[in-house]
């Protein structure tokens, strides 16, 4: 039981990690990318842009939590 809980904790760490919004954001971005591509629109710019935005968002949130931003 302990081992199963440890394995589940590792899987949760892999998939959700410290900020669940990263996982949610990536699911949304991949969905939107698939919709754009399905309609024949250029979609290559979206994933890299979204990843940089997600990273910026999560780093900024951590900085705010650290009390550095009033």
């Amino acid at each position: 039981m302990k081992a199963l809980r440890a394995v589940l904790a590792v899987l949760s760490d892999l998939v959700i990690g410290d900020d669940w919004r990263i996982t949610a954001g990536i699911i949304a971005v991949l969905g939107l990318t698939a919709v754009l591509a399905h309609h024949g629109l250029p979609a290559w710019w979206l994933p890299p842009l979204a990843v940089v935005a997600l990273l910026a968002g999560t780093v900024w949130a951590a900085r705010r939590r650290a009390g550095s931003v009033p």
Binding site: L14, I22, I26, A37, A43
Partner: protein
């Protein structure tokens, strides 16, 4: 460097980081509680991991390639971005640097405090600690090898990178019998975070229907863009903290931290 070279290098670097973490615990328990139980614990975990690979490996290859790429690329992207987040926060001075020497010292103190070292038979404390560390870090190695390998259509090639990392780190660790503090782990984590994220973007994007300009060459551009963005973010996240009224002592330069 071709896609195969990038695959082996990325898996190798990521697995080096995981191996260093597991080895630190094995060395700490081996030095304080005895090598026999520590090494048996590690060997037991490797046996369990072998069973997991034997079950998961063939299953991964049976899933349709497009769905596999989307699922695995997405998972890799989540994993890589979480990793890059931590590395960026460390470079910005918002999270403590990972210090393998400190981890080693803490493990030594905990092993000494556990007491009750048996005079005969296997030391259960050392066995369990070593087993857990190798199993948990090993699961991450297995995940990295299977996801990278399945996406590139070459699990054996990814396994070469993973095995090379584990063998090299183990040999280095046991040669010096001390934590691998000379491995620039924070730098390595930053580089690995960038590479995992770039591969994740590339594969999941491709699976979602993206036609990358320049085909495989787009991977290089993604690595450059994501790396520069993370560096820039680490730098940008710093200035407000540099206000002594808010943050106390001056923070290290991100460029120094990740060097």
């Amino acid at each position: 460097m071709g896609a195969g070279g990038f695959l082996v290098l990325s898996v190798f670097l990521a697995c080096c980081v995981e191996s260093v973490e597991a080895l630190t615990v094995i060395l700490a328990t081996g030095v304080t509680r005895g090598w026999r139980a520590s090494l048996w614990g590690a060997a037991g975990a490797v046996a369990v991991l072998a069973v997991i690979v034997a079950v998961m490996g063939p299953a991964v290859t049976r899933v349709p390639l497009d769905w596999l790429r989307l699922l695995v690329g997405g998972l890799l992207l989540v994993f890589g971005l979480q990793w890059l987040r931590k590395a960026t926060l460390r470079a910005a001075g918002l999270k403590a640097l990972h210090d393998e020497a400190a981890v080693y010292d803490r493990q030594i103190a905990a092993a000494n405090a556990a007491g009750g070292k048996p005079t005969s038979g296997l030391d259960r404390y050392a066995f369990t600690l070593s087993f857990k560390a190798v199993l948990l870090e090993g699961l991450e190695v297995v995940f990295i090898v299977l996801t990278f390998g399945a996406n590139q259509g070459s699990i054996p090639l990814a396994a070469v990178g993973g095995i090379a990392a584990v063998v090299l780190v183990s040999a280095a660790g046991f040669a010096v019998r001390a934590p691998l503090t000379r491995v620039p782990e924070n730098t390595l984590k930053f580089v690995v975070g960038v590479m995992l994220t770039a591969f994740g973007v590339f594969w999941s994007g491709e699976a979602a229907g993206v036609n990358w300009p320049g085909a495989d060459g787009a991977l290089l551009a993604l690595i450059a863009v994501i790396g520069l963005a993370a560096l820039g973010l680490a730098r940008a996240a710093r200035p407000a903290l540099a206000d002594p009224a808010l943050a106390g002592p001056a923070l290290p330069d991100p460029a120094e931290v990740i060097r």
